[in-house]
């Protein structure tokens, strides 16, 4: 009898928690609010003669980290760095850094000789109270910005396990008294370098994937044609001219082909040619206007703009022109598509029901559209992706003349990076290689 009772009791013990667990309700919580990681930068130490470089490196590094959208760089006014602290974990009072909210801590020492500038950089995890990254970067004595960009990339790589983009450059067009200029900016909008100047119209510059040349539309021959510019020789060379108009050239990701818009007999279509301009072939034949091609990162598909539905919408096709299908059904003026290097989104400009131009993204698979800019000026346009697909750049008129904005893909963090008096247009973010 006792054994029966014991067995019953044991059975109850086994069954009861299972039944209770079976009845528990579960809900799923997603869509977190991603917030930047608080990171502190102690003023960089410097050896005699390197104070200016230490200051510049600190400023550029701070700007890069903030621009990445990944970090909240703590205001140095919010803490008093202890001059007694050294560059090794054993000398750092982590509790003080933790008290000001820092989760990461950057320290550095800058040296300079007549020929060289060098930075010794350290990254610490405050909670773990340990050094997690140590790098030494060297360069010519004028390369302070470069050293800062290099260490910014190191920090991004450490936290995200993806390369940073701070050694890439952004092309844009700028008007000047001497004509139209193709200008390359650092990602933070500084160090603008005029790559090409033309007294005539220049349009739509774009990088070759190896970063050693660019392609653009020029009227040098009297009609719009595609020209290339070798960045080593700075010598422009005519590439393709078809029909009445050839414009908007974009290289395929492997650099072997180039897609562009060409108009013959008044019908604008998407064309593809070999990178040397040979073997041009037409991919679309619809009598409507087709143009503005952009390649998928695997080079197998092309997104383009067409008016074939009556309004201006985005379409997708195979890179041989097959399987053309409409991608967007909302809005009535969607243009300037740019396919993300990650492949998951296409950024584009659209005019909404209030006649305001804003930047959006659309999934090439589902067609779901998400807004990037809203109520920030009347025209935000011409998006272009960073090579890691984590950042977008586009132009905005929110402070007057069009300037360059670097933004997270959802638009939550946007930074105006240029303040160019003439305004900038049609940005194109460069590849990894320089």
């Amino acid at each position: 009898m006792n054994s029966t009772r014991a067995a019953t009791f044991a059975l109850a013990l086994l069954v009861t928690p299972a039944l209770a667990l079976a009845q528990r309700t579960y809900i799923e919580v997603g869509s977190p609010n991603f917030q930047p990681l608080p990171i502190a930068m102690a003023p960089f130490s410097y050896e005699p003669g390197a104070q200016a470089e230490a200051t510049e490196i600190g400023q550029v590094l701070r700007s890069d980290l903030a621009l990445s959208g990944l970090f909240d760089v703590l205001d140095p006014k919010g803490f008093l760095a202890d001059p007694g602290e050294g560059l090794s974990a054993s000398t750092i009072k982590f509790t003080r850094w933790s008290d000001v909210g820092a989760e990461g801590l950057v320290k550095g020492l800058v040296r300079k000789t007549s020929a060289e500038a060098a930075g010794e950089f350290h990254l610490f995890e405050v909670r773990a109270r340990r050094e997690v990254l140590f790098q030494v970067h060297r360069g010519p004595s004028t390369s302070a910005r470069l050293l800062a960009h290099q260490f910014a990339n190191d920090i991004i790589q450490y936290y995200t396990r993806e390369p940073g983009v701070f050694l890439t450059r952004i092309l844009a067009l700028r008007k000047s008294a001497r004509g139209r200029e193709v200008v390359a900016y650092d990602v933070d909008g500084q160090r603008s370098e005029v790559l090409y100047r033309d007294p005539d119209i220049v349009l739509l510059p774009s990088w070759r994937p190896d970063g050693k040349a660019i392609v653009f539309t020029s009227y040098r021959s009297g009609r719009p044609e595609l020209w290339t510019l070798d960045l080593a020789t700075r010598k422009p060379q005519r590439l393709i001219g078809i029909g009445d108009l050839t414009t908007g050239g974009v290289y395929s990701p492997d650099g072997r082909q180039i897609a562009f818009t060409a108009s013959q007999n008044g019908n604008s279509d998407v064309w593809v040619a070999s990178a040397d301009g040979s073997g041009a072939r037409r991919l679309t034949t619809d009598p409507a206007i087709d143009g503005s091609p952009t390649w998928s990162p695997d080079g197998k598909r092309i997104c383009f703009v067409s008016t074939r539905s009556g309004n201006v919408h985005l379409y997708i096709m195979g890179s041989d022109g097959s399987n053309q299908r409409r991608l967007t059904f909302q809005g009535n003026y969607n243009q300037t598509p740019r396919w993300s290097p990650r492949g998951d989104l296409i950024a584009f400009t659209a005019r909404d029901e209030r006649k305001v131009f804003d930047v959006f993204t659309v999934s090439p698979e589902t067609g779901k559209i998400q807004r990037v800019t809203q109520d920030q000026g009347r025209t935000n346009e011409e998006p272009t992706w960073a090579p890691n697909g984590r950042l977008l750049a586009f132009t905005t008129d929110r402070q007057g003349r069009p300037q360059l904005v670097v933004s997270s893909p959802n638009g939550e963090r946007q930074t105006l990076v240029t303040r160019d008096g003439a305004g900038v247009a049609t940005p194109s973010w460069g590849p990894w290689a320089r």
């Binding site: 209770a20 667990l21 079976a22 528990r24 309700t25 579960y26 809900i27 799923e28 919580v29 869509s31 977190p32 991603f34 917030q35 930047p36 990681l37 550029v60 903030a66 989760e103 910005r145 936290y159 995200t160 993806e162 700028r174 000047s176 008294a177 004509g179 933070d188 500084q190 119209i201 349009l203 009227y219 108009l245 414009t247 908007g248 108009s263 604008s268 206007i289 143009g291 059904f329 909302q330 809005g331 003026y333 243009q335 990650r342 909404d352 029901e353 959006f360 998400q370 807004r371 809203q374 109520d375 920030q376 929110r398 638009g411 939550e412 930074t415 105006l416 240029t418 303040r419 008096g421």
Partner: protein
């Protein structure tokens, strides 16, 4: 009493008559238990992937036309910050006025952009008219708050979905405090997942919580603990108080 007397006892005779009934009864019980166990088997499995229906409170109002481009639900971000670094920028060389540019090619068709009104002579009457025109412009740009004619005046979603209202409120309150560091890599975001059991009191306070499964990423799990401590969960309905206090509410967090 002798053995022969026992063999003839009426009691023994009675027991012998009952044994077939006992066997039948045993079989029936066994069948009932077996069928109960078989029928119960599926419900004894815990499906953590199963999602309860969670609703958002839909705003009272007109439906947004489907052909319109989407708008963000939350307030617009503040005006773009300018880059903190102010290293001198290359200055464009001075003036001669550029010649009027020829027409742009047609491929990048662009409709006439609405032009901002140009500067006008600042007469007294113009002040009022400029204010009025500014108000009109702002009205034209203002966006109606779309919702549903059957919606809730306090709703914050523009589209409806059905579900348990309390769980919807819990989900919303947990999501409001759900903050992760941006440095969690895109690759990690694809697979991170942790399940936490929250035990709630009658006021919705978290009495205690326990990880049913951790993500394996210290930064993610620590952020969840901060999120749970910061959450302001509404009081459960009276009929659910005992359940959420004793059995807890499971929350599956994903990035």
């Amino acid at each position: 009493m002798t053995a022969s007397a026992l063999a003839q006892s009426p009691l023994l005779t009675h027991r012998e008559r009952l044994w077939p009934l006992a066997v039948v009864s045993l079989c029936l019980h066994a069948a009932a238990i077996a069928s109960a166990l078989l029928l119960h088997k599926p419900s004894a499995q815990i499906d953590l992937e199963q999602k309860p229906i969670v609703a958002k409170l839909v705003r009272l109002g007109q439906k947004r036309p489907e052909q319109y481009l989407p708008r963000k639900e939350q307030a617009a971000p503040p005006p773009a910050a300018t880059a903190p670094v102010s290293i001198p920028v290359e200055k464009p060389s001075p003036p001669p006025a550029p010649a009027a540019p020829p027409a742009a090619p047609v491929a990048r068709v662009k409709p006439p952009t609405p032009k901002a009104p140009g500067p006008k002579a600042a007469g007294k009457g113009d002040v009022l008219s400029s204010v009025l025109s500014k108000v009109k412009r702002e009205e034209a740009l203002s966006e109606p708050a779309y919702g549903d004619p059957q919606g809730d005046p306090l709703g914050d979603a523009s589209e409806a979905s059905e579900g348990d209202q309390y769980l919807a409120l819990v989900e919303r309150s947990l999501r409001e405090s759900y903050v992760l560091p941006s440095t969690i890599s895109e690759r990690d975001r694809l697979h991170l997942k942790a399940t936490v059991i929250l035990y709630l009191d009658a006021d919705g306070q978290v009495l205690r919580y326990a990880f049913e499964s951790k993500s394996g990423n210290g930064g993610f799990d620590a952020a969840l603990e901060r999120a749970i401590r910061a959450a302001r969960i509404p009081p459960p309905p009276a009929e659910l108080r005992k359940k959420y206090r004793d059995e807890g509410l499971g929350v599956v967090y994903r990035p």
